[in-house]
């Protein structure tokens, strides 16, 4: 990837994180940890895929489902950047009557494919989309972003089994492996590891990547999309919860919280200040 593109995407990541902080400022305790861990994944993915207001109603475009719906703030910032709604709307996040709900809502927020938030449901919807595409002989991609804590939900594994059963080559699940869930480290709350082996045993092609390295993310997304093997693709993106603000990184408390006063200013300063 050209240096200028990398630098552009890096700037975008900083902007998304700053947007998330501003959304938190107006709305109170927010899912900062899991939003920050997903930023590079989302920015790299949306740099590549065919997903914009002008073709949102076309059925054979690429599809994206944010199964970890609590990362909505990061996704909203991306959607505003893509022109799905005005950037000013971000500051109405979670206010009464706002189109930007606490978790994604298809009926009020332009650019949302389907409601998510109650965890574990997005992959099945992705299976349905990809199966519909396969039935029609189309090759659009369906991307689903899950959290690693979310994998505790049994429905995820029903979806994993079905995707392999139907040979859904164009379904790409990305797991944001930040290693922390609401109550603690994922390996202590419910140890599902080793994930690569488990996913391979379920019949998936597995890729692994540093989830904060934009160039590597772009490379792996491109490779997975082009992989002709007739099986679904899983990308395990290893991340740090709260990434981008030093005193949030790797802390279970970062799952949902509000920063005020000095903490807010420090966080913003670490991201390059208000701009």
């Amino acid at each position: 990837m050209e240096k200028v593109v990398t630098s552009l995407l890096e700037n975008q990541c900083r902007q998304v994180r700053k947007d998330i902080l501003q959304m938190m400022k107006v709305s109170g305790p927010t899912h900062l940890g899991g939003s920050f861990s997903s930023v590079e994944i989302l920015v790299a993915l949306f740099h590549l895929i065919d997903y914009a207001p002008h073709n949102f109603h076309a059925r054979d475009r690429d599809h994206f489902i944010l199964s970890k719906g609590h990362a909505a703030p990061a996704f909203y910032s991306l959607l505003a950047g893509k022109g799905f709604f005005r950037r000013e709307d971000l500051l109405r996040f979670r206010s009464t009557g706002s189109p930007l709900k606490g978790h994604p809502d298809r009926l009020t927020t332009p650019g949302i494919e389907i409601a998510t938030g109650s965890l574990g449901q997005g992959l099945s919807v992705g299976v349905g989309l990809a199966l519909a595409g396969k039935k029609e002989g189309k090759s659009f991609k369906t991307y689903v972003l899950l959290g690693d804590g979310e994998l505790d939900e049994g429905q995820v594994w029903e979806g994993m089994a079905a995707a392999a059963h139907y040979g859904l080559q164009h379904l790409i699940a990305i797991v944001d492996v930040n290693g922390l869930q609401l109550d603690g480290p994922t390996d202590r709350i419910m140890n599902l590891g080793p994930l690569p082996e488990k996913l391979r045993a379920f019949g998936w092609q597995v890729y692994q990547v540093d989830g904060h390295d934009l160039e590597k993310l772009v490379t792996v997304f491109t490779a997975a999309a082009r992989d002709p093997f007739p099986a679904p693709k899983a990308i395990l993106a290893y991340t740090v919860k709260g990434k981008g603000v030093s005193f949030l990184e790797g802390r279970v408390e970062s799952h949902s919280l509000a920063l005020d006063g000095d903490d807010f200013s420090r966080a913003l300063a670490e991201l390059g200040g208000v701009k």
Binding site: R59, H63, D105, R106, L107, E113, I114, A115, T116, G117, S118, G120, Q121, G122, L123, S124, V125, G126, V127, G128, L129, A130, L131, A132, G133, K135, G154, Q155, E158, G159, A161, A162, H165
Partner: protein, 314 residues
């Protein structure tokens, strides 16, 4: 002549599939039980059996709907409860046109027992926005109503009994409308699904005792035809509701709510109470739960505070 509403499902789907290429059918390993195997044989590329996984069934159906298909997801009525959060979030919240079919409703899966009986499904679906809800009274009713929902936007729930129900030969229903199947001035019996023929049979008996019962049939529970109910309730001495479902949150509750907001007295509600169901013969189960023809007759009599006086007209 007897016929089960579930037995017409496959035929209806075949008819619609011929005209609408967007129809696809999904099930969670109950294709034969839901009587849709004929569809699977004729349209193998439009039929998806996702295995015994109801949550996944509802999510996959939502995905088909997002793409532009009209998916029909078939399982037993009782198992829709297992996937209720998926129905709530992945279907209702986004107002997707998934048509959910729940067969073996109420106590109709008598021999399989409580684990396979659906006595709370209406309580769940009635509270969801956007849904059209149908509970046909016989096979002909189901055959008329099911295709009408495909012309409506949004999700739908079809509640189909497995019971071999009498074919009533009543006028065909219109979606969204209740029907007066028998007029009478003394009492209103409002019934739905498999309880309609029992209510008509009870009205026959009551006539012999000089009581004129008006029988309202509700095959569409949502949208709900309130005017029909209010008119009848204002004319008679009381309303009795009859359903093969728990009375809290079901059809009776819906009628009570409607009468209440129109300033009319509460109905007398017949349905199941504090039970998950049981194993037995179908008629025994309806009798043990106070839902036989005889129970309806006695309920009307106690409401009107009259003793039986065979042959006596009033």
């Amino acid at each position: 002549m007897l016929s089960s509403p579930r037995d017409v499902l496959g035929k209806v789907l075949l008819d619609i599939a011929d005209e609408d290429p967007n129809l696809v059918v999904l099930t969670a390993d109950l294709g034969r039980s839901c009587r849709i195997d004929a569809f699977a044989n004729r349209f193998p590329d439009r039929f998806f059996d996702v295995g015994i996984a109801e949550q996944n069934l509802m999510g996959i159906a939502a995905g088909f709907a997002l793409y532009g298909f009209i998916p029909v997801a078939c399982t037993f009525a009782v198992f829709t409860g297992r996937a209720f959060d998926q129905i709530r979030q992945s279907i209702a919240y986004s107002n997707l046109p998934v048509k959910i079919v729940g067969t073996h409703s109420g106590l109709s899966n008598a021999k399989d027992g409580a684990t396979h009986q659906a006595l709370f499904d209406l309580a769940l679906f009635l509270n969801l926005p956007h849904f059209t809800i149908l509970n046909p009274r016989d096979a002909d009713d189901a055959r008329t109503l099911l295709p009408q929902t495909f012309n409506r936007p949004g999700p739908a729930y079809f509640r189909l009994s497995r019971e071999e129900l009498p074919r009533l030969g009543t006028p065909p229903p219109t979606l969204g409308k209740g029907q007066i199947l028998r007029t009478g001035k003394d009492v209103t019996i409002a019934a739905t699904g498999a309880m309609v023929w029992r209510s008509l049979a009870a009205a026959d008996q009551l006539e012999r005792y000089g009581i004129a019962a008006e029988v309202l049939s509700y095959s569409t529970l949502k949208p709900f035809d309130e005017e029909l109910l209010w008119e009848s309730a204002q004319k008679t001495q009381g309303v009795i509701t009859v359903e093969d479902h728990g009375i809290l949150g079901g059809f009776g509750s819906q009628i009570a709510f409607s009468l209440g907001r129109h300033g009319l007295p509460a109905p007398h509600m017949m349905g199941t109470w504090e039970t998950l169901g049981d194993t037995g013969s179908l008629e025994d189960l309806y009798r043990l739960n106070g839902l036989s023809v005889e129970h309806i007759v006695r309920k009307v009599e106690s409401l009107l505070n009259r003793q039986r006086q065979p042959g006596q007209k009033h």
